[in-house]
């Protein structure tokens, strides 16, 4: 006999776990379905955990969550072929508890998060793929899984099935994802002894460093690279838009290999042993590429709804927040005995609009298109900036005024005065 639940959550990533935990904690009868062997096996992230989003769900998460290092320093590097120029921001303020950001290893973190979901009372079933949404008229009333007797019913279905949400596509909630709206990121985890990491990055205890990189490492494609410190390993990765990979016929793996050979990066990885290689799609189409996120009997949360702030490399916090707010919407409607109609679930979108999630999505809505149309942001400027630094710093008997002139000319020569002004305007518009 088919079982009925108050809510079914499809997927056990940060969005699904946030939703399932919040609903179960409120005493609702919750089923979470995950296609992976265990929660976390299909999930890939950089990964940095933003405390704020998780704190709003599990306030005392620091007590038992598997956290690697809290971040005290952020480096932003702009790379040319053989140099980098950039900024470091290191603050002892980030060393004060409660810490704001942590590096995590998702395989461990997701296991922990899922154990919390189970403790809260949700039924979590893995290795089960949801094939279809079951509809009564236009209202979603349940799911059909790939198992015998696979029909399961619920008042509401929350789709947290990730970037390539086959379910949402099949149900017609959004179209096939456009390659220009997703980034393909690859990363490796490299083992290094704790002492080596601490001395290489000038950190101690649980302190950690993040390096975000743009420039020639992406070979003209729209994308960024990153390097994070874990307790006993470094995570290094690079991601670019799928459409760019396709067009330039560069394999992501080769790109990462090349990046690891960069003279600014290579010494940081020296003598490390590669432990893990993963690849993942990141929905970076932004606000304009977002699908409809609710309807009669359903809501979409996390990556499945394009909730990623590519500019600030945030995604899991948006996922957790959308998961939590979707759950709170259900809790509120259930408390008032209201049905999960599209009109009532509009509350989800309304609540989201009030949060940083929608505000940031809207703020950067022009970004994907601008970057896409201006690949020189990733090639010409990194080159020019690095050359400028080199010119200024090299002591060779040339006077400083001539050096300034040379730098100015190199910029104008490469982009023309109008080009420079135009670029500045475009960037200002994108961040406006």
């Amino acid at each position: 006999m088919a079982e009925k639940f108050d809510a079914i959550i499809v997927g056990a990533g940060p969005a699904g776990n946030a939703a399932a935990y919040t609903l179960a904690k409120a005493g609702l009868k919750v089923l979470q379905l995950e296609r992976g062997e265990s929660p976390g096996t299909k999930n890939v992230q950089g990964a940095i955990l933003y405390s704020d989003a998780l704190e709003k769900i599990i306030p005392d998460f620091r007590e038992d969550a598997p956290l690697e290092r809290h971040l005290i320093e952020q480096r932003m590097w702009v790379l040319s072929d053989d140099s980098h120029i950039g900024t470091h921001y290191r603050s002892d303020d980030f060393n004060k508890e409660p810490y704001n950001r942590y590096t995590i290893i998702r395989a461990q973190f997701d296991k922990w998060f899922s154990s919390k979901v189970r403790q809260a009372g949700a039924l979590v079933i893995c290795e089960t793929t949801v094939l279809d949404l079951v509809k009564d008229d236009d209202c979603v009333v349940g799911v059909r899984t790939d198992r015998e007797g696979g029909f399961i019913y619920a008042d509401v279905v929350i789709l947290a099935d990730g970037v390539n949400s086959l379910l949402a596509k099949k149900a017609g909630f959004h179209l096939e994802i456009d390659p220009k709206d997703v980034a393909l990121a690859v990363k490796e985890i490299h083992f290094l002894p704790q002492e080596t990491i601490e001395s290489r990055f000038n950190i101690s205890g649980d302190e950690g460093v993040v390096i975000e990189m743009v420039g020639k490492i992406t070979q003209g494609m729209v994308g960024t690279g990153f390097l994070y410190t874990n307790k006993e390993s470094l995570t290094i990765g690079v991601g670019c838009m799928l459409s760019d990979f396709k067009q330039q016929k560069i394999s992501p793996y080769a790109l990462l290999e090349q990046m690891k050979e960069h003279p600014s990066i290579k010494p940081l990885l020296a003598n490390s042993e590669m432990k893990e290689y993963t690849a993942h799609l990141i929905p970076e189409g932004g606000y304009n590429a977002m699908p409809k996120i609710y309807g009669a009997g359903w809501m979409i949360v996390g990556d499945a709804g394009m909730f990623v702030n590519a500019v600030h490399r945030e995604g899991s916090n948006l996922a957790m927040t959308t998961g939590r707010i979707a759950a709170e919407t259900v809790i509120e409607l259930a408390a008032q005995n209201k049905p999960m109609t599209a009109a009532n679930l509009a509350l989800y979108r309304k609540s989201l609009d009030e949060t940083f999630v929608m505000k940031d999505m809207k703020k950067y809505k022009k970004m994907p298109e601008i970057l896409h149309k201006n690949p020189h942001f990733f090639t010409a400027y990194p080159e020019l900036l690095n050359r400028a630094a080199h010119t200024m710093l090299k002591v060779d008997g040339v006077d400083k005024k001539s050096k300034e002139k040379e730098i100015r000319q190199s910029f104008v020569g490469k982009r023309s005065l109008f080009g420079l002004l135009g670029d500045a305007f475009k960037l200002w518009r994108a961040f406006e």
């Binding site: 079982e3 062997e37 395989a107 039924l123 015998e148 002894p193």
Partner: protein, 282 residues
């Protein structure tokens, strides 16, 4: 009929690494799975349950608390009961101490319902000893049937079983009395895909968790590290050898030329080889 299936949760050995500094096995992040050979045993037991009405299947495992996952999985395939024997006192057990503990637990199970068949995997993928199954059979005085490829017939009235057993150079057809202990060979069956109902049941089913007293351990000196005469003297990762491959250009060459080129390369690499072959040829 009552069948007990012994399973073990093992690290997925294809994903294990040795810590480059401390030389210990790194289990962190390595997924735990049911020993694949035990799944063959479980599936065979479930097939008997499908054919013979009134059959119950009990899965039994000894391990740390997280071995619960392995039992829940076994339940999802259709096992009726699951028992986890777990106690710090069992830690560090070798095959001798393990078979002592498992045999004791099966005796406890028998107190409630007699056991007709015990299934086990032919070996585990982490220890690879193939000793625990036979050790349990010996202690429980069960007939032992290892490397079974097929259960040909089972007569509950006569308490007779006929099985096919893979042996060197052929197949043995063996008839014996039950109760007996069977270890299954790979290729004999394939694990089923659990139904949705069984997935729900497995997630909610209460497990029986036994400590050493509940498992009926009489002599604490025979379990865990104390009861294990095996000593691990050293753990190390085998070093990968790098030998440069050489290529012989075969483009527009006769077989004779290729063979000659290959032989001359071989003899150059191993100067003594020529003399040895000459000696052999007499």
């Amino acid at each position: 009929m009552h069948i007990v299936v012994c399973i073990k949760q093992v690290p997925d050995s294809s994903q294990i690494r040795v810590h480059p500094v401390t030389n210990t096995i790194m289990r962190q992040g390595v997924p735990a799975i049911i020993n694949p050979y035990d799944l063959l045993a479980l599936e065979e037991a479930l097939r008997l349950k499908d054919c013979i009405a009134g059959t119950t299947v009990t899965v039994l495992t000894m391990g740390p608390p997280q071995a619960e996952d392995a039992l829940r999985k076994a339940l999802s395939f259709g096992a009726d009961h699951a028992i986890l024997v777990t106690d710090r006192a069992f830690a560090g057990a070798d095959t001798l101490a393990t078979s002592y503990a498992i045999a004791a637990a099966i005796r406890q199970i028998e107190k409630k319902e007699p056991v007709d068949l015990v299934f086990a995997g032919k070996q585990t993928i982490d220890g690879d000893t193939a000793q625990v199954g036979p050790g349990v059979a010996k202690r429980l005085n069960l007939n032992l049937l290892t490397y079974v490829s097929k259960i040909a017939s089972l007569d509950l009235d006569k308490r007779e079983i006929i099985i096919h057993r893979r042996a060197e150079g052929g197949v043995q057809v063996i008839q014996t009395q039950i109760p007996c202990l069977i270890t299954m060979l790979e290729g004999s069956n394939e694990m089923r895909f659990a139904s949705m109902d069984n997935m729900f049941r497995a997630a909610r089913h209460p497990l029986q968790i036994w400590n050493k007293d509940a498992a009926g351990i009489e002599d604490p000196a025979k379990i865990g590290l104390k009861g294990s005469p095996t000593v691990v003297s050293k753990v190390f990762a085998p070093h990968a050898k790098t030998i440069k491959a050489e290529q012989i250009d075969v483009e527009r060459k006769t077989s004779k030329e290729i063979a000659t080129a290959m032989l001359s390369k071989l003899f150059r690499e191993h100067p003594k080889l020529h003399a040895e072959i000459a000696k052999l040829a007499g």
